[in-house]
Every structure is written in C-alpha cells, then in structure tokens.
C-alpha cells in the first residue's frame, strides 16, 4: 500500500516512463507511438502492454503525428514520441494545421486529446539540425498547450496532466535534465497543473523567470546573488502556453526587476513574449529595463566549446542581474 505522500527516487527520464506506464494502466484508450520506442524509452512498457497500444512507427514524422491526431479525434488518447525537437518541423503541418485547428474549425464538434512529447537535444554536440529548442514557434499557434517541465516530478505530473487534458499538448523535455534525480510522488493521481508557473525560490530584489531547462542555472544564480546581497525570486515557467502572466506580474510588482532565462534563440523567443507582456501590463511596476538571457541568433555549432557558450548559464544570469543596478 502506498500513502499519499510517498515518494520514490527517479530520474527525469524514468519519471516520464512511469507517467506513461501509469496512464496506460489507468485508461485503456492511452496508446504510445514513436520511432524505435521498443528499444529506446519504452522497453519496459513492452513487457507489460501488448503491441496493440505500443506502436513502433516508420520514419514518417508528419504522418505518425497525424495518425495520433486521427486517433485522438476518434476516442483514443495517444502519446506520440517525436524524439528530437527539431523533428517538430517535419510534423508541423499536422500539429498546426490539424491538431491545433480542428476543434475551432469544426465549431467545437471535435476535440483532439493528443500528447506530443519531444526532447530538446542541445549541449550534446549534435549540431544545428538536432539541437533546436523550437517552442516559441508553437507558442505562436493558438490551440496548442505547450509544456516545458524542469524537474522529474513535473516531467511525470505534467505528462499525466497532458494525457488527461482534452486538447493537444506538446511537451518539450530537456535532455540536459534526463539524469537529474529527485523524490517523485508515487500516487498515480498526483498531477502538475497545466498553465501554472511555480515560484521555486522566493526573493524581493529581482524576478528570474526560467524557461524549461534553465531552472538549475537560475537557482544556482540565485545562490550566487544571495551571497552578494541580492535577493532573487526564481519562477519556473513550466507552461509556455498558456502563459501564467499572473504569477509573473505579481512577482515583478514586488521586485521591480525582471530577467527571463530562455535557451531558445533570442528573436521571437518565449523571453521576448514575457518581456512584451510585462512591458504592456506591468510597466508601472518595473524599475529597470527587462533583460532576456537567451541563445544568440546563430545556429548551434558542432564544436562543443563553442556550443556551450550559446546557452544560458548561472554566470550569464548573474551578469544580467548585475547590469540592472
């Protein structure tokens, strides 16, 4: 017997597998599809569930995402593993023109309870065609819910919430977090809510909004800043769309300063949207200009020394905060 507050030590990646296992046990309409899932990612699920609900797909990203949409329209709750986030471009027609639009275009007759999981493969020496963090592109599409969990508990709880949601959800996982372990709730009904950011560390001098895998860097930056007498509040965004504007605005209303840490490219980034939103709706509370800490507007190089310099680090966040004095 498990108790409501029991936890188990799991990595971010193990937490994802457990979420899938629990949701497949809970609801027989949950299926899992993707390339090579029988070998990578879902091996242990094949021991428990038969091949009817687990589909190793051919390399046809646009179509197998669309197959997930069609299955979602007709009674299933598919989880489609799109493996690497740069593959989203191949599937973007089915994601944007079908999954995101079909409910609206049919006047609410249909719903698309689809989950697309995909991993951002940056800092991994895979070069520019495998290393994108393309969530801002999809943030610009109404109808999609975009999640970016930064902890093992959220990786589990948000995936489970996504499976139970009746709309299309895209989850951007982060391979830099895959091995990070944490005590994760055992209770299969513990969900992490969609659309709610979380204050991971309270502070009063500056708000650091962290997008996706920036969280460990933002928390470390807050420690360094504390040693320097600066009290930083760290908000883990968790959901990119819909944006939890309220949590961000409430924090900035107290701190008067905002840094957004986001590993997507700077132009049209999630950081850009948050900066614009705060300038429109919280301008009176800002005491200093908003700063974005993002990847620059160049492609990800193969060379590891150069690649590491592209992304958000503790020190970049600290430096950005220090420019606000």
């Amino acid at each position: 017997m498990t108790l409501a507050n029991d936890t188990v030590r799991l990595s971010y990646l193990q937490a994802i597998v457990e979420a899938q296992r629990e949701e497949m046990r809970r609801d027989e309409n949950v299926i899992l599809m993707g390339e090579d899932i029988a070998v990578y990612g879902a091996q242990s699920l094949f021991e428990e569930f038969d091949g009817t609900r687990l589909r190793n797909t051919p390399i046809s990203e646009n179509s197998f995402v669309g197959v997930g949409v069609g299955a979602a329209l007709t009674g299933l709750r598919p989880i489609v593993d799109l493996t690497i986030a740069s593959f989203c471009y191949l599937a973007s027609d089915q994601l944007i023109n079908q999954a995101a639009k079909l409910r609206f275009m049919t006047g609410g007759q249909l719903s698309v309870p689809l989950v697309v999981r995909t991993s951002t493969f940056y800092n991994n020496r895979t070069a520019a065609q495998h290393a994108d963090r393309p969530y801002p592109l999809f943030m610009n599409t109404p109808g999609l819910k975009i999640l970016a969990p930064a902890t093992a508990s959220d990786a589990k709880g948000m995936l489970k919430a996504a499976v139970r949601d009746d709309d299309p959800v895209v989850i951007f996982e982060d391979i830099n977090l895959w091995n990070k372990k944490e005590d994760v709730p055992v209770d299969p009904d513990v969900l992490a809510p969609i659309g709610k950011a979380l204050v991971r560390r309270e502070g009063s001098d500056v708000t650091i909004v962290s997008v996706a895998g920036c969280l460990p860097h933002a928390l470390k930056a807050a420690e360094v800043l504390a040693e320097r007498g600066i009290s930083a509040e760290v908000i883990d965004l968790r959901t990119i769309a819909p944006l939890d504007s309220e949590t961000i605005l409430n924090s900035v209303a107290r701190t008067g300063r905002l840094i957004v840490a986001d590993n997507s490219h700077k132009v049209g980034s999630v950081a850009s949207e948050i900066a614009a939103m705060v300038c429109e709706e919280g301008f009176d509370t800002l005491r200093r200009p908003v700063r974005r800490v993002t990847a620059p507007q160049v492609h990800v190089p193969y060379n590891g020394t150069l690649e590491k310099q592209l992304f958000v680090t503790r020190d970049k966040i600290v430096s950005a905060v220090e420019t606000l004095d």
Partner: protein
C-alpha cells in the same frame, strides 16, 4: 453487395442533393470548390459505409457530408458563414465537417487527411470495433508525402482504411499526365503491398461495388485498399477563380457534361428499371429541401466575437486564455 432497391433510390437522392446544393451555390453564394461531376464517386463510396464509419475529405468538401447522409440545412448555413452552420460559421466551404455523420476532417491542406483517416483506422483497431475509415483525396494529393507515409503505416498494421481517390484529372490546372511519374494511381498500391483498384467514377453502382468489397476486407482485418475513381470536374477548380489559360479543352468539358454526367447516367439507369416517377419525386423533394436551406441560411445570425474563444479548447486553460482580447 449490390445496392438493393431502396438503397438505389437513396443513392440517387444523395447525388441529386449534391448537384442541387452546388447549383444553389452558383446561383446564390458563389464561393467554393464544387463537386458537380463527382456525385457518383462520392455517393457510391459513402453508400458502402455505415453511419458509425469515419470519413475524411478535402477542400472540395460539400459532397462528402451530403454523400454520408448529413442534414442539408446546417451545411448550407455554414457556407453562408452563419452561426447555425455545422461549424458555426468558423469552418466554411472547404471544411463542411459533420461529426455526427462520422466526418472527422475536411482538410484544405492537400494530403492533410491521409494521416487522420489512418489514425481513425488505428483507433478502431485498438478499440476492437469493426468500424472502418474512408479517406477521400484528389489526384493531386497523391504527390504529397503523407500519401505514401500514411498508406505504408496502414499496410504494415493492416488498418481498416479505404483510400479513395477522386481522380478528376487535374490538380487545379496541372494534368495528372504531367505531374505523376505513374499516372495510373491505383497501381501505386503495389508499392505498399496492398490492393489497388480503378473504377469508373461516373457509375455509382460500380463505385459502390468496389468500395463495399474494400470495406468488407477492412472489417475482416485484412487491411487497407487504394481505390481510384476516374471522374471529372464539370466546373472550374473553384468558383470565381480566374483561369488565364485553357488547360483543358472546351470539347473535353462538353463531352463530359453531355455523355458522362453521373446524375443523368444514373437517372437513365433507374428510369430503365421503371422508376421515373420515383426519380421525379426525389428531385422535387430535394429541390424543396435546398430552397428551404438557402432561405433559412440567409435569415440566420452571424457568429459572435465570443464564439472565437468558446470554440478553441475542450479543456479551457482558464482566465489566462485571451486575457483582454476576448471582450
């Protein structure tokens, strides 16, 4: 698996419904891609399906719900952009999707329906029902990647899907002959290890027979079939589209209108079987239905600003959804 006497008249009724629906649009609201010429292909295919079978369609969408037996009023209101339309005036002419009749998508992205129909077939298989899914597409769509990708998945998983090509010979103005390495579309099935059948798309009973056979195969778990119905579009790609060149000859168009009109051909068959009076009764009844639908659509209200927000999500994401803009 041939159509019995009642079903023959029902097939004729649905064909006439499509024809008069489209003629009403030419007269009253000239928007859209008309299905005149395609009636036998569409109705023959739909008559082989059950109400709970799934259908995906195309930008040339009007015929599909009518062929599947949908109510005319909400379809007409949709084309007029009204709130009483089947999609509340948010989808329109290229997207006449009546989910009550098993339609799950009318995609105006060419080839967009292949994966969706395949997914509906997967869903039926996983849920253990004997439903099938029928995917309407045009000859142009066979050059999209989703054609091969999706049929391949249906083939390896033996999904209950019928891929039904309304081959009217032209992708807008581009002929099949100059855009297809293998212009015999049914033969493309060989590449996926599934049956491919070509049929006269102007003969509703012939179409029904081949689709019924494919449906039976699919229900028995034997997998998908590719069907190519050779048909002809009597009007231009869409109403009001300027066509600066003569990409098909007037003789060709006139020949099809005169000799290959599917509604006239089937009417002649039924009259030969002594059913002229019944045909006339159907025609009168459909004319009244269409006239009433146009009158009702004209008087119906337009959708409201709030409808834009109310139709976005099945699980609304809370107050953050459209802060400010909604008002």
């Amino acid at each position: 698996m041939s159509l019995d006497s009642d079903r023959q008249l029902e097939a004729f009724r649905r064909m006439v419904r499509i024809r008069l629906f489209e003629e009403a649009l030419i007269a009253h609201n000239p928007v859209g891609h008309l299905s005149i010429g395609h009636e036998a292909a569409i109705v023959g295919a739909c008559m082989a399906l059950r109400d709970d079978d799934y259908v995906t369609g195309t930008h040339r969408s009007h015929g599909h719900p009518i062929g599947k037996g949908a109510e005319i009023g909400p379809l007409m209101a949709e084309i007029f952009g009204r709130r009483t339309g089947i999609c509340k005036g948010l989808g329109g002419s290229m997207h006449l999707t009546d989910a009550r009749m098993g339609l799950i998508c009318e995609s105006a992205i060419v080839g967009g329906g292949f994966p969706l129909a395949t997914g509906a077939g997967l869903s039926a298989q996983v849920r253990g029902t004997d439903q099938v899914s029928l995917c309407f597409f045009g000859d142009g769509a066979t050059n999209q990647g989703t054609f091969g990708e999706s049929i391949n998945m249906a083939a390896i998983w033996k999904l209950p899907v019928i891929y039904f090509c309304e081959n009217n010979g032209y992708a807008v103005t581009t002929p099949v002959a100059t855009s297809h390495g293998q212009p015999d579309i049914a033969r493309r099935a060989d590449g996926f290890g599934i049956p491919g059948v070509a049929v006269d798309g102007q003969d509703v009973e012939a179409v029904h027979a081949v689709v019924a056979q494919a449906v039976a195969r699919a229900r028995q778990g034997e997998g998908p079939t590719l069907i190519e119905a050779r048909t002809y579009r009597f009007d231009e790609h869409s109403n009001r589209l300027a066509i600066p060149i003569e990409y098909r000859s007037q003789d060709e168009i006139e020949y099809h209108r005169r000799e290959r009109d599917p509604v006239a051909l089937y009417r002649a068959v039924l009259c030969e079987r002594g059913r002229q009076q019944e045909c006339e009764a159907v025609e009168n009844e459909v004319r009244e239905t269409i006239d009433a639908a146009v009158a009702s659509a004209r008087e119906s209200p337009e959708p409201e600003w709030a409808d834009l927000w109310d139709n976005m999500y099945a699980s609304p994401p809370g107050p953050e959804h459209a802060r400010g803009d909604r008002k």
